[in-house]
Symmetry: C2
Subunit: 270 residues, 2 copies
């Protein structure tokens, strides 16, 4: 099954646009013995309310070999126990072609992720090895949710900011490969609307809700794919965004309650 | 000792601007049992002719846990046996601040690299956690050597291409932190000259010689830091570039001869 298809089935099954980020800091495992044990509890509690799990590889890489092993176990655990929920590896990889080929092996063959985030700064040949894996999803960083995003992403080229150039280029890649999605932060809702106009049908991963302060209602109203049919103006057909949350869920005293609450809050505005 | 200082001592000791890339594809180990064993041979043969070793993390990550272990052993082997030669981890990392913090731990604490390459697309707070490690070097991707580099890096903002904006921003970061260097490909010698004008005193890592077709003579004449004193117009004071080569050395039937030859060829034009 292709990533986009798997994602849409999970969205439908759990009536959810919530992507649960698995970023356990080893300094902060609250009693659990390992990153894997910590994740296992989160996954079991939140799998009913999530459309996607998104481990952030940096948090495991910082823990060395043990961390890499825990990330492998985490992804395997999800595939074995919740096979309908796709795994997006947040890795923001990108390098010259033959090196990106190796990163594609890391994400898709070794970790067996369903999708990966990539950094577009090196251009087409740095993204192509990921695009070639047509059953996997490739989330291209477009506009990120951090303060530094304006340093370069916001620079204006012939009246268009760089992130719009990235969105347009991603659209042309998607026409050929069919497996491109974007990362667009919730911290700049106007820019989200602007990007949605340029790419009306692509799915966006939206970080920046919660800890980083993005507003949920505006994010959804500016980012969801508009349905033109009055028959299909029901929640099931309202899509095009997956909303990522990590710390606000995984460090909550009840990850289950936090995930359910956020899933329902998102659905209120769909 | 700070990275820049360690690098300059190695340049002087081995009379070399050659950076040997350690990117062993596990498909191509020519009889050696592991990536570490393959590297050990290369390191022993080339350490006299190199000013820096540059393992590319993707090649190890693609090989899973065993690869990560082999990369760790490789870096430890260099530190223990050739402590004067710095290790630059080519990882092109970059993410929002608290995640980049984890990547800095990966590169500097777990792998114990002397320097790392970073991708600037996410802006200042994505680079800051690396900059904060003032004894380590931070190579910011400016203009890369691959065909896709023109897709975004070459876009023009108010008469200046994006890579010049990155160079200028890196200069301001360096004024505060003192440990910034740039990656500038050899495949665009005019752009190298243009960047050198903007950052007259920063050291550049230059990939793209050899396999990718960059011209050595033009690269050196356009990229070296010009000395203004006639007394110091000798080779020892000619610096500011480290020239990276990987496949042309590591897959050569004699890595020793290939490294010596390239080191000497570089020195001809210094």
């Amino acid at each position: 099954m292709k990533f986009q298809e798997k994602l849409e089935k999970a969205i439908e099954k759990n009536d959810s646009l919530l992507c649960v980020g698995l970023d356990p800091d080893i300094q902060n495992l609250s009693g659990e013995k390992s990153q894997f044990e910590f994740n296992k509890k989160i996954i079991d509690q939140t799998a009913t309310f999530a459309c996607c799990f998104k481990p952030q590889i940096a948090f495991y890489a910082a823990a060395g070999l043990k961390g890499v092993e825990d990330l492998t176990r985490t992804i395997t655990y999800i595939h074995n126990n919740y096979p309908l929920i796709p795994v997006l590896l947040d890795a923001k990889r990108g390098d010259v072609g033959h090196t990106s080929e190796m990163y594609a092996k890391e994400a898709f063959d070794f970790f067996n992720a369903d999708a990966v985030t990539v950094n577009p700064y090196l251009g087409f040949d740095s993204v192509e090895p990921f695009l070639n894996r047509k059953d996997r999803g490739v989330f291209v960083l477009c506009k990120t949710s951090n303060p530094g995003a304006s340093d370069f992403q916001g620079l204006v080229i012939e009246r268009e900011p760089l992130y719009i150039k990235v969105a347009k280029k991603s659209l042309t890649w998607n026409k050929k490969y069919g497996n491109v999605l974007l990362v667009v932060g919730a911290t700049s809702p106007n820019e989200l609307m602007e990007i949605r106009k340029v790419v009306p049908n692509m799915t966006f991963l939206v970080p920046g809700i919660g800890a980083q302060g993005g507003d949920l209602k505006t994010t959804l109203s500016n980012g969801l794919i508009k349905s033109h049919s009055s028959f299909s103006r029901k929640r099931e057909s309202s899509k095009g965004l997956i909303i990522s949350a990590s710390r606000s869920i995984i460090y909550n005293s009840s990850p289950r309650a936090a995930a359910q609450k956020l899933r329902d809050e998102i659905n209120k505005y769909r």
